[in-house]
């Protein structure tokens, strides 16, 4: 039994067994790579898809509506490999400079073999070394630099995009991608998902569908869904863009964390001492109003940075759904780490933090007092 994928070839639906779909995708991907520098690439791909559709149609009837993997293999054998046209010297020249999968390596995080975020397995793949060697080096580096290595790891975690697609995975390893490898990898991913799905079948299936739809509309250049508009946040972005988005995500997370710390500091300092950095609000402004104004000022200053942070995360992950909660969580973790470190190493900060429970008790008492004074 095979799952069936419905695809749109030049306006007509075709149902393929999943391995047939994988093989077709691999064929089209290779064709696109071979025609990478061809100015008529889109048109040729359309012609090829139409030819494949015609061949599929001749194998279908009212009582047979699904193309099997073996049939797709015969169709693709009939089509023959797509050959880039070597005749044009200009084209050949562009071809050399143009992007080709696996021709040069790229540093990606590889999450499916990761311990933390896949930084070390990505570096290992890049240098053809056992990721455990890189991990060991990283741990030693962190130990000898008294923790600075951890900071480096965190920065790399944000700066290096993770490999989502087969091409990125291949670029991470520097292997030249061929159809069989794409299919094998797709199989591996399918197996992994199938295993998970035994636990949460429906959830996984939705995710799987979403993933394919994402590939169909975005990553694969809309090969099969010419008419469907690509989902705006899911638009594929380049390596450099993702790297910058990752760094911006880190920078904006730090900015929002610093703003949150400044707000918390001002808030508790105001409550416990009635002043911020030695500046006290004028006597005619009551404390509650000062706190309210502080909160409004904080919200006004931090919200644009929070929005930038969120969009950076969305760009990195390629979907808006992922960034929704995670980006705020990372800021909170940063704040927590900063508070903890300053508690450990900064006596004044420790004093302030220790005064927090008292300040909170103070609020409670003043509330009780006001209620008591209001009571008859």
């Amino acid at each position: 039994m095979e799952r069936v994928v419905t695809i749109n070839l030049n306006g007509n639906p075709y149902q393929l067994e999943e391995p047939a779909y994988d093989a077709l995708r691999a064929y089209i991907t290779r064709a696109e790579a071979a025609l990478a520098a061809n100015p008529d690439k889109a048109e040729i791909i359309r012609d090829l898809e139409q030819a494949i559709a015609d061949k599929c149609a001749s194998r279908l009837s009212a009582s047979k509506t699904v193309i099997s993997a073996a049939e797709m293999q015969r169709v693709l054998d009939e089509m023959g490999p797509v050959q880039g046209d070597g005749h044009d010297s200009a084209e050949a020249k562009i071809n050399e400079e143009g992007p080709s999968y696996g021709a040069h390596r790229r540093l990606y995080r590889i999450k499916d073999r990761s311990v933390i975020a896949g930084v070390c397995s990505g570096i290992g793949a890049y240098f053809d070394l056992d990721p455990n060697v890189i991990r060991l080096l990283f741990v030693l580096f962190a130990l000898f630099t008294s923790g600075f290595g951890i900071l480096v790891y965190i920065v790399l975690m944000f700066a290096i995009p993770s490999a989502h697609t087969s091409e990125e995975w291949a670029a991470a390893h520097g292997v030249v991608l061929n159809a069989q490898e794409i299919i094998d990898r797709a199989r591996r991913e399918a197996d992994r998902l199938a295993e998970d799905s035994r636990k949460a079948w429906s959830r996984e299936r939705r995710a799987w569908r979403r993933q394919w739809r994402h590939y169909g509309a975005g990553q694969w250049g809309g090969i099969f869904v010419h008419d469907a508009p690509p989902p705006a946040p899911g638009k594929p972005v380049g390596y450099v863009t993702r790297m910058f988005a990752g760094l911006f995500a880190l920078v904006f997370s730090l900015i929002t964390a610093v703003l949150l710390i400044a707000f918390l500091y001002a808030f508790f300092s105001l409550l416990s001492t009635g002043a911020v950095l030695g500046w006290a609000p004028p006597d005619d402004i009551p404390l509650w109003l000062a706190v309210l104004l502080l909160a409004i000022a904080y919200a006004a200053i931090s919200s644009p940075f929070a929005a930038l942070r969120r969009s950076s995360y969305a760009t990195v992950s390629g979907s808006s759904a992922y960034g929704a909660g995670a980006d705020g969580l990372i800021t909170l973790v940063l704040v927590g780490v900063a508070v903890w470190l300053s508690y450990l190493y900064w006596p004044e900060a420790r004093e302030l933090i220790q005064s927090v429970p008292e300040a909170l008790r103070g609020i409670g008492e003043s509330l009780r007092d006001s209620r008591a004074s209001l009571a008859p």
Binding site: N38, D40, D47, A57, V82
Partner: protein
């Protein structure tokens, strides 16, 4: 004895453009016709090779195509030779004769 079609693949590859121009020169044809015309010849080829080649010939303005509705299925591209393509075909034919004549003369 090895199959000459396999032995002289490089030679045929260089002449495929010539063969296709020749097929297109006869009448307006679609890709299925070209494949069928070449299938029984040493120039037998496949869509994967033909579409990129036709695309280049069109870019060089040697052939042109028109969409023609087909009885069954979507419209097809019917290719025909342009004036420039006809000139190129004449050149190729003349050059080919020159080559074969030269080869005949050599070694005598």
């Amino acid at each position: 004895m090895p199959n000459p079609d396999e032995q002289f693949a490089g030679l045929r590859k260089g002449l495929l453009e010539f063969a296709i121009l020749k097929v297109v020169s006869g009448r307006t044809v679609y890709v299925g016709d070209i494949l069928a015309a070449l299938a029984s010849t040493p120039f037998a080829t496949q869509e994967g090779t033909l579409y990129p080649l036709l695309s280049r010939l069109r870019r060089e303005e040697l052939v042109d195509y028109q969409w023609v509705e087909s009885g069954a299925g979507p419209p097809r591209k019917y290719y025909q030779l342009t004036a420039k393509g006809a000139a190129r075909l004449d050149e190729l034919a003349a050059y080919w004769r020159h080559l074969t004549d030269t080869l005949e003369q050599l070694g005598r």
